[in-house]
Amino acid sequence: MCRVFRTWTHNLLDNPWAEPPEALSQHMAICDECRARWAVARRLAEVLQAWPEPEPAASPRSIAERVLADRRERQQARMRNMLAASLVLAVLAWFGLSALQEPQPEVPSYRVAIQLTPTITSTEVATANQPSTNKLEHRLPDVRIAQAQPGEAISDSTAYSVQELAYWFMPESVRRSVEDMVEVVSPVITSDSASDTAVSLSDVVPVNWGNIEQLWHPLRDVSQNSLRLFRSIVPTWSQEPNS
């Protein structure tokens, strides 16, 4: 494109009714390209001036009605959404409150009953196997503790002897002594329980009952002390009537 005319093309389109300056007219007289472009530009300006204003078919009223209908629909949709959200929140809140108010799993309120059973006397054991001189005259109370409803009988399978419970109230040093003693005794008991034949304890292991007695006395004392301690800790249990 001839650069002389380039600027004038746009000036013409900006102001289509302006006459071309003398310099441009003289240039166009000798430049066919510029003359042709000027003609096209002038014609474009004419056509643009006559460009018809598009006439919309829809009336403003019809568009406004559609706009208002759309507004109503959106408001209704918004209300529906808010209602749905409120319902969801209400349900969630209800579930949450229900969970808070829901009764916890019922814990059976067993009462502890204490039953004083006939005590085991070490004498009986001693007389069966040992001379009377080795009799153990000490009677250990056999107190059994069990979880039982009022009036419910305590079975042996669910009851714990106080000695078993009191054992754990012993000082650790004493418990070690007990465990040492059990280590001495347990082979005897194991051998006895594993055999169907009537084998006396003395046949299996030569037990020095004097040593056992030496061990047993402190154990007995400790057990009784522990029992007292246990009863002092749980005095109400010990005052429960036997069921």
């Binding site: 530009a41 014609r43 919309p56 009605e65």
Partner: protein, 203 residues
């Protein structure tokens, strides 16, 4: 800002406030005020009467849906026309590629008024369809809607310099296209006001 413009903006703000309250009269007034601009932009850009009608309605629905987002410190027309331009762009992207830009311009009224000028305008519309989208937008907004550069820049979100460049290119491409389609030869037939160049005195 002169007094008239300030008054117009205050009027626009009052109109928008009434529209936001759901006033049917205000809604209708606002539609009537900008419908021609929106429809013209849609028609020039889409080149199809029915598409332009549909998109115009869609534009107003979007305008009223987001009217509360309008920046009250700025005039309303660029904001609405920006929505119209964006909707037209979306429509053009979604329209099948084989759909010509001026397929739907043959509305009955136009056919009845068909004359030489109509043919030229049809050629112009066809030439517009050959332009890049940005160039076509600027050309339509400037020459059809007679918007100033600043307002076009506001609508398209581009600097004024870019708008001038796009308009310059649009004009150049249009002139080339129209010249190739014989406009220069038909000059004396259709535009009697053009002087006879062959008789111009040579310098």
């Amino acid at each position: 800002m002169d007094m008239a413009q300030n008054t117009a903006w205050q009027d626009e703000r009052a109109l928008v406030r009434a529209c936001l309250k759901g006033d049917p009269q205000a809604t209708q007034r606002l539609v009537a005020r900008f419908q021609r601009d929106v429809y013209a932009v849609c028609l020039r850009l889409l080149g199809h009467v029915h598409d332009a009608e549909d998109v115009t309605q869609e534009v107003f629905l979007r305008v009223f849906r987001s009217l509360h987002c309008w920046d009250k410190s700025r005039p309303l027309r660029p904001w609405i026309l920006a929505i119209a331009v964006n909707r037209c762009r979306t429509w053009l992207r979604q329209r099948p590629q084989n759909s010509s830009l001026h397929d739907g311009l043959h509305d009955p009224q136009a056919q009845r008024n068909a004359d030489d000028l109509w043919e030229l305008q049809e050629t112009l519309q066809e030439a517009l369809g050959k332009l890049r989208e940005e160039h076509r937008l600027v050309f339509v907004l400037y020459h059809d809607r007679h918007l100033p550069y600043e307002e076009i820049a506001d609508i398209l979100g581009r600097p004024v310099g870019t708008i001038k460049t796009w308009l310059h290119r649009a004009r150049s491409e249009l002139l080339d296209y129209l010249r190739q389609h014989g406009w220069s030869e038909e000059l004396r037939t259709y535009v009697p006001s053009v002087p006879d160049l062959d008789t111009q005195p040579s310098g």
